[in-house]
Symmetry: D2
Subunit: 138 residues, 4 copies
Amino acid sequence: MGYKTVHKVRIEWGDTDPARIVFYPNYFRWFDAACHQLFDDIGFNKNKLLDAGMSGMPIVEAHAEFKRPGLYSDRIEVEAHAADVKDKTVRFEYRVTRDGELLLTGHEMRIMTRPHPDDPKRLQVIPIPEDLRKKLEG
Amino acid sequence: MGYKTVHKVRIEWGDTDPARIVFYPNYFRWFDAACHQLFDDIGFNKNKLLDAGMSGMPIVEAHAEFKRPGLYSDRIEVEAHAADVKDKTVRFEYRVTRDGELLLTGHEMRIMTRPHPDDPKRLQVIPIPEDLRKKLEG
Amino acid sequence: MGYKTVHKVRIEWGDTDPARIVFYPNYFRWFDAACHQLFDDIGFNKNKLLDAGMSGMPIVEAHAEFKRPGLYSDRIEVEAHAADVKDKTVRFEYRVTRDGELLLTGHEMRIMTRPHPDDPKRLQVIPIPEDLRKKLEG
Amino acid sequence: MGYKTVHKVRIEWGDTDPARIVFYPNYFRWFDAACHQLFDDIGFNKNKLLDAGMSGMPIVEAHAEFKRPGLYSDRIEVEAHAADVKDKTVRFEYRVTRDGELLLTGHEMRIMTRPHPDDPKRLQVIPIPEDLRKKLEG
């Protein structure tokens, strides 16, 4: 239940810190990239969303629990899963593994917005379009 | 209860994305910077921890809830608070505001480690030293 | 000759790599931030440029020569200087110091653009507006 | 003459700025990643260098000339080329293309260092080891 994809990442030198492990905000960068790949996979590339007058799916919550550190030159897999698709929110769950070993888990809650009709500088929350919701549900 | 500090940030062009708002992983970068500033304030600069044979306070959990977007050239305040200091963990809580308006809240759980005596490539969890704990408790 | 400003930076943990020195692309991030501060100082905040239908001053060349490494928790000064202002280009020169000691020098060449009238997805090079040029020349 | 490799990158949302183009310091991040891949290819992974007591090949100069902007979700190729290998320096040249179209060129000058025998906090320049030089020369 819920579309899943896997985003592959090589941990680069600049992603790691003097403790020789990944500087943790980078994992959220990779969650975001995996989420974008998931949208690509199901035919909703961000460019398409922007062209359709939506501003994408802004984040309302982000969370991660770290089990083992990622190291320079590791090849990791970031699994993204549209785990819970509601009218106005989607919960994306993430699992990051290295050769099958779990490094961390996390999730994001996202909503859908468009520029507000009365003030294009503000965002307005809108229901997730039916066709997108069906694709996310897998 | 618990030491508090405020880390000031100017949102730079490169911190924002095509939706003209902060790319969210940057907030965790600023949580981390605020946490480092808190350690500096209480006399435990990371360099001092490293020189004392500790590898610092790695993260085991990170969380954020986003209320309003930060925009290019905003000046924001990241308040860091050592909210719950236990024998082996510390919970740091964060509040990010712009001119007093709340943009997001979050927290990190951190532990203390040193290189493992049997294998310097692994980390060993250690109790938080008494003097550091007292300072964190404010 | 040419407006100058100084942008102050504290080197954060996540800016440094396992060699315990700044991961070098970050210096270009700080060049860019110093350049934005220079525009702010002279009354041309990027938001104002964007609202006036310009897309800012995209980069056509960037260069840096590194003398000494920056380290975690160093406080550095990034001096930006509008060193050569021509009709369609500006050369910004940078000097990064730590307590007066030179860490690196660099420069950027920038041009001015706006969305192309025939195709808003392309950029069109335009002359630097007279009022901006005067301010840059100091 | 000189070893060449190609590093593939997908431009992510967070790599782009409100002008909807790549925030330029990221290109240097990708130069660095391509350089690391080149070392991997020829059997000199950075971890191996570090374990051999070297601190890698720090940068002394970095340069880029930008022709066309990279956009979100573009797939680009970063060609790295060990173009000029001397006793103590290597010049790496970069070409970034999208579907064969040139986006930018650049170069880095790098030297080889190890922790100074008299003061492990300083770096000492050393000649590039013979076996590494041969591999770089292709």
